[in-house]
Symmetry: C2
Subunit: 457 residues, 2 copies
């Protein structure tokens, strides 16, 4: 039976032109990471399942790809368990590894496993694939590249300040205009749950808040009432939701709102300190806004949280995000280490750059010249020319078969190679090569050394 | 319960120093691929299981990592199947995706799926991870990087010639001396099975031959006799095994041996044509030898096969390999397309380079300068300096907390940063910064512009 030649759902092939564009984005991001003092690490694509499970909430656990044990995967499971409906118990018996769901948890594992080799504060970047069993949709794939930078082992709010500058540096290098960095603080969300007397329903409350952009403030109020909000506190929620606009004013409104919540005030204080240290003129045309509805799904955040959106012309969701996570390494046995990090989503940035036509002119091929193959008697002469150019680091290919020159020139056009070299009796007799420029069809007969001079990178 | 902070068996973390070395190898290989006219593609990490199964022989199928279906993975399997011993039937029901085992089959799938977009002959390179459920050992991992170059859609033996030149180009760039390219031909192996009257046992025969290096020629003869070799043909096998040394002489011996095998003679003829077109002086100190015991495990090869070994000082197995595969795409419904390709194993090349001490001096960090943080009143002044250097693309970090200078200098030493900037009252008053060179401890007070000049890449 023939297999269908199809990529698996939610995954993609990339051709050269796409890779050149992706590499452009990656090299801009990497350049900013390096400039800001981050160093690269890499972790394996799969981890022991226990490393990943329970770190991303129930929804996250569900979306983690699990790998079947190799060999006899049924060895450690009894028949009654196998026939039961307890899917997570079954999978924990027949699978012991899982694909990376993000880069943060593997990083935390890395820090703990390699704690004797690293120096805190430890600044690392990591540009690797992650996998999620999500339903694919526009800009959301089952395999995608994350570009993460994190600092672990520093509680200083200077880190938050630096990440805000990093966001703007990346988007300045990519020339993506009018990005908006939305910032909030998990302690502000906890503070809200306290002043609304909904501490027990913090997660449900933040899930509703996170939908403000989609469903509107009125519906948020209705849903929070359904959640059990005391009608006498409805005004407090409405006040919270009306906080908008100027950063300084928002800080002041929040301070008033949280006069009974110490933890809420701590969050406001953090954001205020961060804001004061930002060099606003360094942010270029990236804007920083306090967005009290921002919640971030991942359960490990404990402090400042960020999300970055491109301008509203491109409706693609966040293109970068991050936050502070206190004590994430404690799940692996290393306590009292605070971390903070951000992640850039390559695929969405790509869509933004395509939509806004921001890619610079990128060649469709890196092949500079193709030697046409028109006479089998001249094969060695042709290969000498090919070798000569390659020795000068010029990207050189040859057509492998003696077919009509017309067919070979058509091939050269199709692969977008800018030059073709043609060899015939005349060239061999005069120790020369005929160089054809494909964009205007012009031809000139030259020595191989002269061709090197023209084509040299 | 705390999870143990441990990478999964057979997988590895990489720190920055290791990544810089790996990147050195990758960029040399990539440079050769580009010079030889290959263009990059990428394929997803996992494929539909049917794309991979049955392409690598039984052993290969066993070593493919299968991914559990997401959601209710038991939905399409009945209880009796689930309880049966038919592991492959069960796994084909509860798993529909599998991790890439090599880059060749996904490439064949890519060619068929994207056949309307590509031009034949299609030359691509692909540098991506592959996964095998092998037992880890020295130089063998469960996750490793392959660097592949293939041409599909050309039967020309010029491709074989070019790949031999490519091998030598890569190892010349990496400065790995005395590599040995071993070449053989599947038709020679078939020819041998014919003259030994063991056509029915071709696979078993080649498995035995492949062990010649390990077990010696005498034991090969004993094992082939066990396989059913007619004693009267023992001399033919002994003659075959004694073929060694000079390429031209080997060709001539094989021609004599195969006077009754047309297919064997075809293989010899191919190797002879290839040899005549090689520019031996281009091979540098890489040697090309005809090795009649070379078999290559993967079942899809049909023509020339290659393996490259480093010098015998490093006993690590092959560091690159490849071969021609006729009609591989036909399993996906595209017939009559011949391909040929080679694969470089990054991890083994890394071990060779380490063992022979071939890596050039590679910096331990790319961070150029660390600003010490000694006075909270000067924080803004410090950040101004940091921003200024970063705007000039100088990789700059700062210490986030005000702690003793001694501690900060120790940190700077540990992360191997070559310069530290120190700011105190004196510097702020004179609008300057104190630059300390870490290797000799010298200090000099300069304007930020003067520091830019010194540190500029």
């Amino acid at each position: 039976m023939k297999a269908k030649a199809l990529t698996s759902k939610g995954t993609r092939d990339f051709n050269s032109a796409q890779i050149f564009k992706r590499d452009f984005i990656i090299s801009c991001i990497k350049n900013s990471f390096n400039t800001f003092g981050f160093s690269p690490i890499e972790t394996p694509s799969f981890e022991n399942t226990e490393t990943l499970l329970g770190k991303y909430g129930d929804e996250g656990d569900r979306l983690i790809f699990k790998i079947l044990k190799s060999g006899n995967f049924k060895k450690n499971i009894d028949d009654s368990t196998l026939l039961s409906d307890n899917l997570s118990l079954i999978s924990s018996n027949i699978s012991d590894k899982a694909l990376r769901y993000d880069l943060t948890i593997p990083f935390a594992r890395y820090v703990v496993q390699n704690q004797n080799e690293i120096n805190l504060p430890f600044k690392r970047y990591q540009i690797q694939l992650v996998w999620r069993a999500d339903r694919p949709q526009n800009g959301r794939f089952r395999e995608f590249l994350q570009c993460d930078a994190d600092v672990i082992g520093s509680k200083s709010l200077l880190q938050e300040v630096d990440f805000i500058h990093l966001f703007s540096d990346v988007f300045k290098n990519l020339k993506i205009p009018n990005c908006k960095i939305r910032i909030n603080h998990r302690k502000i969300l906890i503070g809200l749950s306290q002043v609304l007397k909904l501490e027990e329903k913090l997660i449900e409350l933040t899930v509703i808040l996170d939908k403000t952009d989609k469903i509107g403030k009125d519906k948020v109020v209705i849903e929070v009432i359904k959640l059990g909000l005391d009608p006498s506190l409805q005004d407090v929620l409405v006040n919270y939701l009306s906080i908008d606009g100027d950063f300084i004013n928002s800080i002041s409104s929040l301070n008033n709102l949280f006069n009974t919540s110490t933890i809420g005030l701590e969050g406001v204080q953090d954001l205020n300190s961060i804001y004061k240290l930002i060099h606003l003129n360094n942010l270029g045309n990236t804007k920083l806004v306090l967005d009290t509805s921002l919640a971030r799904g991942l359960s490990y955040y404990t402090g400042t949280i960020f999300e970055v959106n491109a301008s509203e012309e491109v409706n693609i969701g966040s293109i970068a995000a991050g936050g502070r996570y206190d004590d994430l390494t404690s799940v692996f046995g290393l306590n009292d280490v605070s971390g903070i990090g951000v992640s850039f989503g390559l695929d969405r940035i790509y869509i933004v750059m395509e939509t806004l036509n921001l890619f610079p002119k990128i060649d469709k091929t890196k092949v500079t010249v193709l030697f046409a193959n028109t006479n089998k008697n001249h094969l060695n002469y042709l290969l000498n020319g090919v070798n000569h150019l390659r020795l000068h680091n010029i990207n050189t290919d040859f057509y492998p078969d003696v077919v009509s020159l017309k067919k070979q020139l058509k091939y050269a056009n199709n692969i977008a190679v800018p030059y073709v070299v043609i060899v015939d009796d005349n060239e061999v007799e005069t120790s020369s090569y005929c160089l054809k420029k494909m964009n205007d069809g012009s031809q000139i007969t030259l020595s191989i050394e002269e061709i090197v001079k023209i084509l040299k990178k």
